[in-house]
Amino acid sequence: MRRGPLLVTFLSGAAIAALFFIPHYRAQEVNSKLLEWTLVVYAFALILGSISLWNSHVRKMKKRAEGWGYSVVTLSTLLAITILGVWKGVGEGTPVGTIYDNVNSPLASTMFALLAFVIASAAFRAFRARSVEATLLLITAIVMMVGRVSIGPLISPHLPGVTEWLLDVPNLAAKRAIALGVGLGAVSIALKIILGIERSYLGRS
């Protein structure tokens, strides 16, 4: 039963990897065609996602589960935006554009802006110099927070230079190490999936 998906994964993965290194125009034509297929798969994933969202919220509403009222809002918004978008378009000046500018944009920005308040409260209560490592982190964070904004040079003309050094030396070294590790890890996982060693994507670990 599982041989089919494993074979498709192996062939697709191996073909895409090989085509990356073959500059011949025939190979690149095949590559382009595979990319177009991927776009179609993405489109189907979007449809599948919408159906799944619809089903899960309808179930919630039927059962009158906790917070089912939010499901009503979600589904009616989904329907309204879809109908308006298909009927009147989605550009500036259309109903969807107006809803986007006056509802979606301010709501999303507000949600993200709340982070500043939570972070300030959390920093006051949790950012403590309890050990040498925590103290180092605390000092670095303070230098970075003050040195990276306009008020930094007014407090000390050396602060921007110190922040630049922190970013260019310790930060760069750590980021390079992490990037190399992540890259090697990604290659190893990709190989395991192509060769059928890693099969958790099939629905069983």
């Binding site: 550009g91 500018d101 306009s150 930060n171």
Partner: protein, 284 residues
């Protein structure tokens, strides 16, 4: 040490009020704090500035409203610079909710610089598929975007006529709030060798220093500070420079809170006071 205990268990609403004042007051009464330039933003500016007039630039604005406070002023500043330099911009987004913002950034910058749609810029809109779209553009732009956002075929638009891959563009600029930037580096730059400039949120910026040092990206504009620097470079006083006053003050308030919190805890411990609030409690 009753006062220390009181300070450590301060109501979080007082902290919220302090932060709110730090945000609102500088916006109402601007402090006009100076914006110092960093080499990364200057490098991004210089790379774009060095392009000859008429060059085509592909700009992908991959962000949604949650981070528009940082990336919207950045996009507008970059676009204004491009229009001022008479560069032709082909703009797109890889986020579904980014279409409204991309269009808004284009119209704002075009209005300020007198640029005209299809003559000075084209708006391709949204396409799903991140890496697939990036590789697809490298092979056949029309395979990904046969028409622009308004349904006009690309061959009917002067800006996109004759452009079929990265080869016909002088530069790719990615303004992003996600790991989409990693893919632009891997594919647009790594595979198709397109010169790349990156603009991202402040928290993401440190991730891209290695690519800057290896010259895989030509410049890096990080967060509101980077956007403010860019505005200064193009001699504009926009939302980023206005916002930097508020950001400076809020950073200062947070730093003061951290110092006060640690000092109070230190005094409390020295006095052998076991009564303070639970360590690390963030919900009080």
């Amino acid at each position: 040490m009753a006062w220390v205990r009181k300070l450590l268990s301060i109501d979080r609403r007082i902290i919220f009020l302090l932060v709110a004042a730090g945000v609102v007051l500088p916006l109402l009464f601007p402090l006009n704090l100076p914006v110092t330039l960093t080499p990364r933003v200057k490098a991004a500016f210089d790379a774009i500035d060095a392009l000859p007039p008429g060059s085509k630039v592909l700009l992908s604005m991959d962000f949604e409203p949650d981070i528009m406070a940082e990336l919207m002023p950045m996009s507008v500043a970059i676009l204004r610079h491009c229009f001022r330099k008479r560069l032709q911009v082909i703009a797109m987004t890889l986020y579904p909710a980014g279409t409204g913002l991309g269009e808004r950034a284009l119209t704002t910058a075009a209005k300020a610089e007198g640029a005209v749609r299809n003559r000075d810029y084209a708006w391709l809109g949204y396409k799903s598929g991140f890496q697939v779209v990036m590789i697809g553009i490298g092979e056949n732009l029309r395979g990904m975007y046969p028409v622009d956002f308004y349904g006009t075929p690309l061959d009917s638009i002067p800006v996109t006529r004759g452009v079929n891959s990265y080869r016909q563009t002088a530069m790719v600029i990615n303004v992003s709030g996600s790991s989409g930037t990693d893919y632009w580096i891997q594919f647009a730059q790594g595979r198709f060798h397109a010169p790349l400039v990156v603009g991202c949120t402040a928290v993401m910026a440190t991730d891209y220093y290695p690519y800057l040092s290896s010259r895989q990206i030509l410049g890096l504009i990080g967060g509101l500070k980077g956007a403010a620097e860019y505005e200064r470079l193009i001699d504009d006083f926009g939302d980023a420079r206005r916002g930097m006053d508020a950001q400076s003050l809020v950073h200062l308030i947070i730093v003061m809170l951290v110092i006060v919190g640690n000092a109070a805890l230190f005094i409390s411990k020295r006095a052998g006071d076991a009564g303070g609030p639970a360590a690390g409690s963030m919900t009080r």
